[in-house]
Symmetry: C2
DNA sequence: TGAATAGTGTCTTTCAGACAATATGCC
DNA sequence: GGCATATTGTCTGAAAGACACTATTCA
């Protein structure tokens, strides 16, 4: 099994002189549902922490990169494959998994709730969305990972265009503002928000929305790449 | 050897059903020497990339956390043990190490050049400091790691107090300004810099320097923690 | 008094932040 | 006309950024 750890004749390099830890990927999947920021958790069907809620994730395979592994897990849990995905932090404390040494590379994914088709995964007896403001107790050190992810998310909302990955390709400024208000759990002055967003010149005007219940808004699209740096002030 | 991967009776959990990658830690060690930003590299004494320069690092041990592993490597290479240390990013592409699957967790360390006593490490035939502006070709994907570290360093200089980890506990504003000028490779207006630093109220005045060659400067010390958030504008 | 470094203040411009009235479309 | 949402501008205060002279110590 371990043979392919010895390649191209490097006999002196004994990677196996060291016991090897297991490497996993854990995902913090964010979406906006019911006017709140939510994340996907799975109820563990196996020990340890059987019946506890946990972040979706799993061990990496030898022939896939960390990111490919994260995308595979994401697809297995949600059926979604086109998302914003970002590596967060690697957690490797010795006792973090009672089964042995497991190092986990955490990722954050942002998906549009319309794209989701939840699947029941083999090792999860249940899968569900939870409001960030109302989370159950989590297995392992997943609470720590989730807290880290929320901080990073807010940070990235202020300093990059990742928010737009949660909107459709055409959106109104009202939708954008509601998104920021949900993530920061804070009301924002409409005039200042619009002034700020329009001043940084990242939007193209599109058509006007049809079939709006009341006055239809102007639609916009993002004319820079998702993840590009911007600076939306002080919303934190 | 692998027995302790099975603990506390979790027979169904077969971590070893998966081949395990190796996990390493690589260090980007920054210091200021000769009025420039420099990083420590080792010349590899073993294949692969024998005789190439590389970041210091090594495989983690089963009984140490990632951070402990980074600190151990740091101490082995430089003799330094009290430093600013921060995890950067985890690189895990399949082909990044010709010996097999090696996932590396990168760390950035900032050390005061006065504290360094370089040691010749067992697996390095040579150890040296290099200016960031004049680097040799690096082994593996270490160039990518280093580029990432430089970006993070600059970023953290603008938004946190990590710069102060490169100064003595008492320092002049001139020393602080020179440090920022070196890291950003850019001249900064003295009056605006001082105004800004003093306005954010993170410094305590100390004594006045003795034995200065010319007019002795006022000394200051940091009255908040290293790593605390601040905002030194727009130096990037 | 010359050399080297330390220390200081003003003006302009830009931007954040507070704040309220009008416009549009649907019923 | 009533309702729900969209859209727009002004004023104030704070801070960034440009800019040049004086102060201190030592040789």
């Amino acid at each position: 099994m371990k043979n392919n750890q010895y390649k191209q004749g490097y006999p002196l390099v004994k990677l196996d002189d060291f016991e090897q830890p297991s490497v996993a990927v854990d995902l913090v999947i964010f979406t906006i549902k019911e006017r709140s920021l939510q994340t996907l958790l799975i109820k563990r069907g196996i020990v340890p922490f059987k019946e506890s809620w946990a972040l979706p994730g799993g061990f990496i395979k030898m022939n896939e990169s960390l990111e490919e592994s994260a995308l595979r897990e994401l697809e297995e849990e949600t059926g979604v494959n086109k998302v914003y995905l970002e590596q967060l932090y690697t957690f490797g404390n010795v006792g973090r998994d009672p089964r042995g040494r497991v190092i986990t590379v955490s990722y954050m994914a942002l998906i549009n709730s319309k794209d989701i088709k939840l699947k029941a995964s083999t090792d999860a007896s249940d899968v569900n969305w939870f409001r960030i403001s109302n989370l159950p107790t989590l297995a392992f050190d997943h609470k720590k990972i989730l807290n880290y992810a929320v901080k990073r998310l807010k940070w990235k909302f202020e300093y990059t265009t990742i928010a737009f990955s949660l909107l459709h390709s055409r959106f109104s400024l009202g939708e954008l503002q509601r998104l920021y208000e949900i993530v920061f759990d804070k009301e924002i002055d409409k005039r200042n928000f619009r002034k700020k967003i329009l001043s940084i010149d990242i939007l193209k005007t599109e058509s006007i929305m049809k079939d709006a219940p009341y006055r239809p808004p102007q639609l916009y699209s993002l004319k820079v790449k998702i993840g590009d740096s911007i600076n939306i002030n002080n919303l934190a």
